[in-house]
Every structure is written in structure tokens, then in C-alpha cells.
């Protein structure tokens, strides 16, 4: 059986992972015995690896996987060798430069929009204040960029997942 090689990246650290068969993977070349199962038809996974028992929640994201393990959240990008090569060839940063659309995480009322179109923002800057669940919630920028297309105004009621503005 042929191994399938993946590269997992967490915080710029690469992990080379080969899927050998249903019961074995290799981590950076070192073979581990595994028993991997989802639990109760939920996105909870139980991994027995060389006898150690781990359980995680896995949340799929657009570009990566969020893995919640022992109270720590890891954002893991998973690529095969071809994908990795392509991304490297494209300049590495290309994917992150895609337009980011800030969506309302829940229905609510727009209390304030402390940015304007064309404004440069840094990672962590507050873009919108949304009142919901009796709280004023600050929606922050996940990365640096420039504000484009403000789509809501202060005082608007917004639906869940409604796009509020974009960052390029």
C-alpha cells in the first residue's frame, strides 16, 4: 500500500504526516499505531495513538481545521505535497491576501462602526460593535488590510452571517 503524505502546519511549524494504513501513521518519519474514531455521530474524535487516548472537537474552517485539544485551540492547515508546492510557488502569502468578509456572528444591532472605507487597519482593530445577547460585542479584524465595501450603517439590525464589510 502506498503512503499518502500530508503536511500539517501550525503556527508556521510544519509536521510531515504519512498515512500508512488504517492503523498506522508516521509523524516526521516515526511510525505510530493509531485507532481513530468519531464519537456518537458528532464532530468529536477519539484518537488512540501508541496507547495514549486523546479526544478533540474538530471545526472545519475555510482554509484550515480548528482542533480543540485539552483546552487549547490549534489552527491546522493541511495540505498534500502538491498543494504545498503550488502555494509556495504562488508566493506563500497569496491565500491570506484574499478578501476577508466580516460576517455577523449572530443577529443583532449595529451600535458603532469605528472604521471607514479605504481605511488601513491592523490585526485586532475593532471594525464593528454589534449588540446582541444583551452585550456589546466588538468584532475585530483577523489581519491587517484595507477596509472595502461597508455594507451596513449604525442602527441597522442585521441577520446572522450577513456580511458587514470587507477587508482586502
Amino acid at each position: 500500500m502506498m503512503n499518502i503524505r500530508y503536511i500539517a502546519t501550525i503556527d508556521h511549524q510544519d509536521y510531515l504526516i504519512d498515512i500508512i494504513d488504517e492503523r498506522h501513521v508516521a509523524l516526521n518519519g516515526q511510525v505510530c499505531e493509531i485507532d481513530f474514531a468519531s464519537v456518537g455521530d458528532q464532530p468529536i474524535f477519539s484518537l488512540l495513538i501508541d496507547g495514549k487516548s486523546y479526544e478533540t472537537f474538530v471545526y472545519p474552517q475555510e482554509d484550515d481545521w480548528q482542533v480543540l485539544l485539552l483546552g487549547t485551540l490549534y489552527s491546522v492547515r493541511v495540505e498534500d505535497e502538491r498543494e504545498k508546492r503550488l502555494r509556495a510557488a504562488a508566493g506563500g502569502k497569496a491565500m491570506e491576501r484574499r478578501e476577508f468578509h466580516l460576517k455577523a456572528p449572530m443577529p443583532g444591532l449595529i451600535i458603532a462602526i469605528p472604521v471607514s472605507e479605504g481605511q488601513k487597519v491592523n490585526k485586532g482593530d475593532v471594525l464593528v460593535i454589534l449588540e446582541s445577547m444583551k452585550m456589546q460585542n466588538e468584532l475585530k479584524s483577523p489581519r491587517e488590510g484595507v477596509i472595502t465595501r461597508l455594507r451596513v450603517n449604525v442602527g441597522d439590525s442585521v441577520e446572522q452571517s450577513q456580511t458587514l464589510l470587507s477587508v482586502v
Partner: protein, 504 residues
């Protein structure tokens, strides 16, 4: 004497009160908004009545409708829980005027303590130390507040007079910020309580927030049930409470002095039923009256765990005119209790509230673990009400045992469908400063972050990497229509379909 109680609330506290009534052999009447037809309090009560649309203002804040339901259903008493109408003197008065019992203090006590500014001057007159601030009675306009602010000195706090739960509260570090923050605080207070009045209070540095539970019957007996440590807050919202306080711990003299002051503060307003006196305690163990909460508190269970007193049952007994079953000397403290508030919010994304249908719950259980909750698998968390979905309470013989037990309980807790702040509590339990009891009210915001805290725990990025690869691999194989003849594995595909349907 009443035998049927209407619970004018929702969520975990409505369930908590229904349980107490049931165990006293009382009939229960629930009220519900449109969003809450399927809520646990509706399912558990003997009777349940629809009172309006989902926003609180159209349902749980409609005292008139709630009193109508009580009269129609033959309930003889109303328990307000916390929040909503719990600290509205006009509502308590209307309940009495309708010939019903109000399971709480007299309207005059609520009024006296409910306006935080009035409360401060009342207890100050009774010789209780208060935090310096705007002692004036009634409402102050922005001009007045801007004039008084420099006299109090910065940093200071703007607080809602009708307030509670940190709503309508703002920290001010300079005069320049005042106008904008006053406006924001008033707006939030207006939205939360229907009352935009605010007052000012000196911000005490390195302060602990420590509160005393008191019980008072209709015969003038007042006792306290010891303290709760509530310093761990974020944006003035309590996150974790414990009893006793590690700051007081075995300083029985301080506990006794503070307890006596708490009793005196309650007596100053002729208090009846359960209430809480909040204090700020500075580094030198000087303590100041902060405010009185004239209702049941979210965090009452930690006191129940260490004293063995069922506070909600005592509330009902008191409202029925019974004498307190305990004298001060009967109250003995055993062991240590901690409560973590489990909120539907994402600790990895600025604690944004998280809404949606809860798909799966496995609660921790076993010795020394108590859960108070109003949710279940299939229930939807809506944006209409606050984010508290469960209170996880543990008891241990010692604080160390309680912390270890809380750790294992948090690790066991599984909630799917919404994000929760469980990981935040896990990191807090691992924090050396928390373990050592070295924290104040600013600890969480200023000296604690999920990222830095992670350095102290065993990190396993390689395990996370392997799991992500295995999940991604399965998904790839599946989308490639790979038919794999491994019986053991087939069952694991099922959830992908369901999951994807769920995420639509």
C-alpha cells in the same frame, strides 16, 4: 399561605426554582416567550403560559402580564429569580397589590438598595464603610457627574444605578474620556434595565470583590452564610466564584467582622428574604460596601455547597412566614466550592456570543459535581437572552481538591452546536496565580490571556496535526468517492453527512 408559585424567569434559574418548589411539594407555574416554548422550565413546570414575543421587553419584562397569569392560574406567590424584574420595586409592589406574595424583599428595601446611590448613603448612615463616589440621592445629569468626577479622582467607574451584571458600567481613566463613556453607559443601561441613570465610584486598585450571602425572616432574624469570592471577572461580568474566599480563607476574624457589617447593612433597610452584600476589599483587608443585590444571585450554589443550606427553599419558607431554621451559630462551613459559569461564547474569538442549536451534551458527573442548567440537546440558543447556559459547581474537602475536581469536570464536559468558554476556565484552572489565590478584579483582563497561559500546560501540536490530517484525509477520500471496504471504518463516515446538513 400559598402552595403554587409562579416563576417569573427563564433558563437555569427558573429550573432551579421549579426544583425547589417541587421538593417542597409546591405546584409551579412557568411563563415563556415565543423563543422559549421548548425551554426546560416550560417542560418541567406543572403549568406554563405564553406571555409574549421573544425580546424580554415584550415578555419577561411584562410584569402586568405575569401578574395576570398568576391570578388566572391561582398561583399565590411569584419568584422573580435574578435579572428581568427581580430588582424592580414597582413590580414587587404590583405583586403585593394583586394580593400575591413576592418571594423576595419588601418593595421599600428593593427601592432603597436598587438605586445604588441611595443605597450607599443609607448604609453609610448605619455606619457601614462605603467606596467613595457620588453619594447624592436620585439621578444626576452629565453636567453634575462631570463636575464631581475630578473630586473622586481617576480612575473611576461609571455604573448604572439600576445596574447589575456589569451592564451600563464603564471604567474611566481621564476626564477627556468621560463624555463619550457616559453616553455609552447610559445607552447600555437604558437597553438593559429601561433606566439610563448612572453614578460614579472610585476605582480601588488591586481590589477583591467579595460578597456575603444573608438570610432574613419576617421576624427580624438576620444571619449570614459566609462569603463568596467573585473577583474573577471580565468586562465586569463574573466568570468564576468560590466559597470561601482564598483571600479570607482562615481569617475567621475578618469573616466575622464583614458578616456582621453585612447583617447591619441588611437591617438598615429592614431587609427580608435572601440578599447579598457586595464588598470591595483592598490589599490591606480594608473593606467597603459596594452594593446590595436584593435577590437570589447566580452564584448562590457555592454557598449552598459549603453550608448545606438550600437557599431557594429558605426563600420560599421565609415568604410563607416561617422562622429561619438556622441561627448564626448553626451555620458551619465545610470544604470548598467553586463555580464556573459556562457561557455560549467563543473564548478564542474575543468572547463573542455563540448562537445555534445545541446538538450534543455530555455533562461531567460523579462525586462533588453539580450542574445547574436550562439547556439540553436540541435546544436553540437564541440571541435574545444572556449567554449563560450552565453553571458547573464542584465541592472538595480543600481548595486544592476542588480545583483538581473542577479540572477533571471541565475536561469531561462536552457541548456541541455552540462554542463555549470551557477552554477559558480550563486555562484559568491551570494558572499558577489562580491556584495560589493571587488575583484581583483586574486579573482576567490584565494578567491572563489564553495564549500566554498555554505555555504552562502540556502542548501537543503534533497530536492536533495528526488529527487534522486524519479528518482531512477522510474527507478527501469521501469526496473522491473512494469506496473503502473496511467494516470498522464505515460507521465513522456517517457523521460527515449529518454534520454537513447541520452546518447549512
Amino acid at each position: 399561605m400559598f402552595n403554587k408559585v409562579l416563576i417569573a424567569n427563564r433558563g437555569e434559574i427558573a429550573v432551579r426554582i421549579i426544583r425547589a418548589c417541587r421538593e417542597l411539594g409546591m405546584q409551579t407555574v412557568a411563563v415563556f416567550s415565543e423563543a422559549d416554548r421548548h425551554a426546560l422550565h416550560v417542560r418541567y413546570a406543572d403549568e406554563a403560559y405564553f406571555i409574549g414575543a421573544s425580546p424580554s421587553r415584550e415578555s419577561y419584562l411584562r410584569g402586568d402580564r405575569i401578574i395576570d397569569v398568576a391570578l388566572k392560574s391561582g398561583a399565590g406567590a411569584i419568584h422573580p429569580g435574578y435579572g428581568f424584574l427581580a430588582e424592580r420595586a414597582d413590580f414587587a409592589q404590583a405583586v403585593l397589590d394583586a394580593g400575591l406574595a413576592f418571594i423576595g424583599p419588601k418593595p421599600s428595601s428593593i427601592a432603597a438598595m436598587g438605586d445604588k446611590a441611595v443605597a450607599r448613603s443609607t448604609v453609610a448612615k448605619a455606619g457601614v464603610p462605603v467606596v467613595p463616589g457620588t453619594e447624592g440621592e436620585g439621578s444626576l445629569r452629565d453636567d453634575d457627574l462631570l463636575t464631581i468626577a475630578p473630586q473622586i479622582g481617576f480612575p473611576l467607574l461609571i455604573k448604572a444605578t439600576a445596574g447589575g451584571g456589569g451592564k451600563g458600567m464603564r471604567e474611566v481613566t481621564s476626564m477627556e474620556e468621560m463624555p463619550a463613556l457616559l453616553k455609552a453607559a447610559r445607552r447600555e443601561a437604558e437597553a438593559a434595565f429601561g433606566d439610563g441613570n448612572v453614578y460614579l465610584e472610585k476605582l480601588i486598585d488591586g481590589a477583591r470583590h467579595i460578597e456575603f450571602q444573608i438570610l432574613a425572616d419576617q421576624n427580624g432574624n438576620v444571619i449570614h452564610l459566609g462569603e463568596r469570592e467573585c473577583s474573577l471577572q471580565r468586562r465586569h461580568q463574573k466568570l468564576l466564584e468560590e466559597s470561601p474566599s482564598p483571600f479570607i480563607s482562615d481569617d475567621d476574624d475578618l469573616r466575622q467582622r464583614m458578616g456582621e457589617v453585612a447583617v447591619r447593612a441588611a437591617q438598615a433597610v429592614g431587609y427580608v428574604n435572601a440578599g447579598t452584600i457586595e464588598f470591595l476589599v483592598d490589599k490591606d483587608k480594608k473593606f467597603y460596601f459596594l452594593e446590595m443585590n436584593t435577590r437570589l444571585q447566580v452564584e448562590h450554589p457555592v454557598t449552598e455547597m459549603v453550608t448545606g443550606v438550600d437557599i431557594v427553599k429558605e426563600q420560599i419558607r421565609i415568604a410563607r412566614g416561617r422562622q429561619l431554621r438556622y441561627k448564626q451559630e448553626d451555620i458551619l462551613f465545610k470544604g470548598w466550592s467553586i463555580e464556573c459559569r459556562i457561557n455560549a461564547e467563543d473564548p478564542f474569538n474575543n468572547f463573542l456570543p455563540s448562537t445555534g442549536v445545541i446538538t450534543h451534551i455530555v455533562p461531567p458527573s460523579g462525586p462533588g459535581v453539580r450542574i445547574d442548567t436550562g439547556v439540553y440537546p436540541g435546544f436553540e440558543i437564541t440571541p435574545y437572552y444572556d449567554a449563560l447556559i450552565s453553571k458547573l459547581i464542584v465541592w472538595g474537602e480543600t481548595r486544592a481538591e476542588a480545583i483538581l475536581r473542577m479540572r477533571r469536570a471541565l475536561e469531561e464536559y462536552r457541548i456541541l452546536g455552540v462554542r463555549t468558554n470551557i477552554p477559558f476556565h480550563q486555562r484559568l484552572m491551570d494558572s499558577h496565580r489562580f491556584m495560589a489565590g493571587q488575583f484581583d478584579t483586574r486579573f482576567v483582563e490584565e494578567r491572563f490571556s489564553l495564549e500566554s497561559a498555554q505555555e504552562s500546560v502540556e502542548a501537543c501540536p503534533e497530536i492536533a496535526a495528526i488529527i487534522a490530517v486524519l479528518v482531512a484525509h477522510r474527507q478527501t477520500r469521501r469526496s473522491a468517492q473512494f469506496v473503502h471496504h473496511d467494516q470498522r471504518d464505515v460507521s465513522n463516515w456517517k457523521w460527515f453527512g449529518r454534520w454537513e446538513r447541520m452546518r447549512k
